[in-house]
Amino acid sequence: MLLLTACGGSSPAANVQRQAGGTVTIDNESGTTWTCDFNPYNGAVNFLSFGTVYEPLVYDNLLTDKKTPYLASAYSWSSDNKTLTVTIRSGVQWSDGQPFSADDVLFSFQLLKKNSSLDLQSAWSLLSDVQEQGTDKIVFTFQSAAVPDFYQVAAQTPIVPKHIWSTLSDPTAAVPKPVGTGPFTMSDCTPQNIKYLKNPTYWQKGLPYIQEVDYPAFTDNDPANQFLAAGNADWGGQFIPNIQTYYLNKDKTHNHYWFPPIDNINIWINQTRPLLSDKAVRQAMAFGIDRSKVSQNGEYGYEPAGNQTGVLTPTFSSWVDQSQLNKYGYKFDPNKAAQVLQAAGYTKGSDGIYADSSGKRLSFDIISISGYTDWTASLQVVAQNLKSMGIEIKEHDLNQNDYANDLYTGNYQLAYGSLSTSPGPSPFYELRNTLDSQTTADIGQIAGGDYERYKNPSVDALFDQFAASTDSAKQHQLMSQIQKSMLEDVPVIPVTEGVAWYEYSTKSIGGWPTQSDPFSAPAPWNLPDWGVTLIHLYKTS
């Protein structure tokens, strides 16, 4: 049973007197000019409203899993962890002056049920029912014990006003004038820039300090990086090659960066394909890849090397089962890789590539996305490593749609990339969507997760047990067993760790999240974290 009341934790220290005012300019390559649509249920534009204009019931920090009540003032799980009762915060107003109530929450979830294409988090694949209880409580009934699913339902679903949305004839249509409960309101939008202004009636009294937020549209990385390096923006969210000279040296006292890992970039191994279905081949590949060299050559060292447990470090270090990881090793070791293959009956041919007893060579195609030059550089290292060890891989670049289609439907041998579902605040989310066969589909069907088609009922059961538990010790023990399947079966090979790109300047703005004070996931595209970041910021000069 969990009960939280006051709005503490993630709110900035209220006793410190910060002067109000100032403008924060965000610098984040979005790929398009703005369409001025602020529909929080449209996956293409929700990053412009969820967190600043619209808010979730509870804010759950992606990096630390610290939960802060937002539109819910408290919540509690039933004893079987299948029913979540949420108390709705009183005294909250929509930005048009109407009062916020439990009706709005109920309406938002019913809207998602009716329009499945709006349900970006698949909340209704987890929920069976949502009911209002009394005037200020909402009861969520889950299909099964679902403690971690709290994240999708309570922390990742924006709440919209019933009095406006119930009059919309088409909820998928564009929303040019959003009305929300959040710390900012959208004040002006042109194809080039969005201007947000402080919401004067925001329920967290005294917040935000910042008066205005500007969000210019950048179609490409280079101009965005120039804009940031020239000091025109305060907050960056994209990859900058050679960040030391390009950004930090431009203003050594004020310019900073921090790239915390948030997901794994894997080699997905299709378990249904011949040779790749053999565990020995997969283990040999895991031994044969020099992950730190991939990180250095392919990602400038900004994206750290992954590890075979699939648990992100340092973000989730407390979850890593270090003794098991040490036992299996999976440090770069071509000799060990060769031993594994030879022990499994493979012999090296005259071309230096191993083959099985019937002469089938260990030669595979790997799909990647064209234009992702860092992945191509990474895969060159992988291909060199494996070739010198005795496995051949060939890169095939596809456009985004074809890549996604092949990956989801299992039409590939090897694939490079990360999960398409958003990561979560503990290793559970990524590993479940990577390993749990309940998330997969038959070859030819689109799978929501487990793209490699790994099927292990005992591992599936571990995820169910994890989801039914609120006991941290038990969850850690289950996570160790899950890591064992990653180490023993090698369903996928985590090569590097994807990071939240985050650059910031303290020249005129203070209060930024840092490694020592990670009060929010720091990239401007972390949702709804960017809204939390913004209410912490204040003007320094």
Binding site: G31, S117, D119, D188, T190, Q192, D214, P223, Q445
Partner: protein, 327 residues
């Protein structure tokens, strides 16, 4: 007259062929917009949703191809271009209208400037063949046009925007301004467009100089030019009205074509200067398999090129009496 009617007939047939190709190509390409949308939803959309999307995107899979074709022509005639996948739920028309003024303004103006300047320089250097102008300008500009466009643009940004701070770092107008008809805004837009326009002009002018200079040299050797000189006409009159007027004819169609292609934007300019325009939109449409947007843009480009060529034909008829005499 026959000449003009012939041109109009040709225009109509080409337009129909282009429209039909525009209809067929996306339908024979692998993949479908609905599939692309399904991938976007990670397979979570219900069949009902997919149907709605297909219809929104202008694909009625249960209708016969002929029916779809008829509907497509009807929609095109009413400039109803469908819904864009990239800018969903915006319509293609709305998406294009956002970029069009900027592309036409920037690329159109700089194409005209490059053509006019290039033609003048070409004419003058042929007139004084071997002079200082002829020795310097064509050589310099032809060398410059051999440089990759983005390199020149990046150098220009580095010097004039990043270091000297004379011009802004990208965008079409100031971030806090609204698009409106005021001197303030127009001045701001010109200031933002100056560097991109300059780089387009100096990289494209070389071609116009060279072709104009070469045709001008041949024309200057014609008998009627010698005749004009013998009559004692002023050199300026001979240069413009006798030699220049004839020498420009072959260039007109080339100019019309490049005016038509203005609509396709200048992808590199837009990327380097973060300029709002259609070029980058087209690239995105192709990358996202956004058929409706692709169709809309291709249609616009085709029509623009055809109309520009038609106008050039009319202009040729006006300038060159021989085409009229063929009647």
């Amino acid at each position: 007259m026959t000449y003009l009617i012939r041109r109009l007939e040709f225009f109509a047939i080409t337009l129909w062929a282009a429209l039909t190709m525009n209809f067929i190509i996306p339908r024979v390409m692998p993949g479908s917009p609905a599939e692309a949308m399904l991938v976007r939803f990670h397979g979570r959309a219900s069949p009902q949703t997919i149907r709605t999307i297909e219809i929104a995107l202008g694909f009625h899979t249960d209708e016969s191809l002929l029916q779809q074709y008829g509907e497509y022509l009807w929609n095109m005639a009413h400039l109803n271009l469908g819904t864009s996948l990239t800018f969903f739920p915006s319509s293609v028309g709305k998406a294009i209208m956002v970029g069009l003024p900027w592309t036409v303004g920037l690329v159109g103006l700089s194409t005209v400037i490059a053509f006019v300047l290039g033609t003048l320089v070409g004419m003058l250097s042929a007139w004084r063949r071997g002079g200082i102008l002829d020795g310097a300008l064509p050589t310099v500009f032809i060398m410059v046009s051999a440089f990759p466009y983005f390199w020149i643009a990046l150098v220009a940004i580095l010097i004039f925007s990043f270091t000297l701070n004379w011009f802004p770092l990208g965008f079409g107008y100031d971030l806090h301004q609204h698009i409106e008809l005021s001197w303030d805004f127009i001045g701001n837009a010109i200031w933002h467009g100056f560097l991109p326009a300059l780089t387009i002009v100096i990289t494209s002018i070389g071609g116009w100089i060279l072709t104009m200079r070469n045709t001008m040299i041949t024309t200057l050797a014609e008998d009627y030019v010698k005749m004009a000189r013998a009559k004692g006409l002023s050199p300026v009159r001979i240069m413009f009205m006798y030699a220049g007027r004839n020498a420009i004819l072959p260039n007109l169609t080339g100019f019309a074509m490049s005016l038509g292609f203005v609509i396709s934007g200048a992808i590199l300019v837009e990327i380097v200067f973060n300029y709002p325009g259609l070029g980058y939109m087209l690239l995105q449409a192709v990358n996202n398999e956004d058929f409706a947007l692709m169709q809309g843009l291709f249609l616009l480009i085709t029509v623009a090129v055809l109309v520009a060529v038609l106008l050039a034909d009319f202009l040729t008829a006006l300038l060159d009496p021989r085409t009229r005499a063929a009647d």
